[in-house]
């Protein structure tokens, strides 16, 4: 074995980095080679002195660990929806949809969105004009316009309930 390789192995051995199998092989080699054993002794002595020279006394910290107190809380997520909150939200959506469906259905199928014809007015079979003008058309609006007060009458008179009305 080359001296460089032996020194490297010896250093690893003295520093406790050799596997047990490798350490055993090295010991066998040292037992057969007195010169190598001498080098090993020198290295061990060097490291013993080095350990002595670098030895320190460990002391416990005077202060207790304060890091726990200053540890930052995990950053809150922007949208944190729990299971219960999600369930409530879903219930609200379902209720809203049901209410909308019920309100739409109460007005009758002719007014439902699904049954509303999407064809242009001119192409409707049977003449859509027979059904009257559209709700927001100018004609419809003018039909339902409030009657103007005739000249010489007060505006309030127009809206007075007539005597024969059932609404007293």
């Amino acid at each position: 074995m080359k001296p460089e390789s032996l020194d490297a192995l010896l250093t690893d051995h003295c520093l406790g980095e050799l596997t047990p199998e490798a350490a055993e092989l090295l010991q066998e080699h040292l037992a057969r080679d007195p010169a190598a054993a001498q080098r090993a002794q020198e290295l061990e002595a060097t490291l013993a002195w080095a350990r002595k020279a670098t030895a320190i006394t460990l002391e416990r910290p005077e202060r207790p660990l304060a890091a726990v107190a200053v540890a930052p809380a995990p950053p809150p997520s922007r949208l944190r929806v729990t299971w219960a909150e999600g369930l409530r939200l879903a219930a609200c959506v379902v209720l809203g949809l049901a209410a909308g469906w019920w309100a739409n259905g109460a007005r009758g199928p002719s007014t439902s969105v699904a049954s509303a014809p999407t064809l242009p007015l001119e192409t409707r079979p049977g003449g859509a004009r027979d059904q009257g003008p559209a709700f927001w058309s100018v004609a419809n609006l003018s039909q339902h316009q409030r009657p103007r007060a005739p000249a010489g009458r007060n505006r309030e008179d127009v809206f007075q309930i007539p005597w024969e009305s059932i609404v007293k």
């Binding site: 002595a45 020279a53 670098t54 416990r60 910290p61 890091a67």
Partner: protein, 166 residues
Amino acid sequence: MEAPANELEDLYGQMGPALLAYFRQHPILAGAAEDLLQDTFVRAIRGWDRLRNSVSPRAYLFGIARHVGQDALRRYRPAGESREEPAAPAGPVEDDRLERMRQAIAGLPLPQRETLLLKLRYELSYLEIAEVLGLPVGTVRSRLHLAVAHLKLQLNPPSSATAHVS
């Protein structure tokens, strides 16, 4: 994931003294060692998952401590004096060989000395030192081999007889 307080306390009890000594070994950082130790654990808590998943919590903490120390040294402004490098601990002269060894260690290049101290003083493995220093294990090994060879040469000059620790 939040760091459990009891695990932190245990880790602090195990690693606190070694990390405190790590800071105290440096002449500039020694005065603020307790603060730097707390800072190390604050950073460790922030990276709790990495700490738990690291090769060795000990190596991970030493790595943080090293960064904390480097940051503190960067902030340090000496009043009219140059920044000192960490020196070998001074003590009473017990033995000529011990003194020679201290001087030899102090004379090592900083990367070799840092690696050697992590090995001898804190008993970290090659793998742990590699994690602390952010180096390949082979580099750590070669640094240690060079340092030990230098120390051996200083303690055992070719002409002298073998020295043994008394």
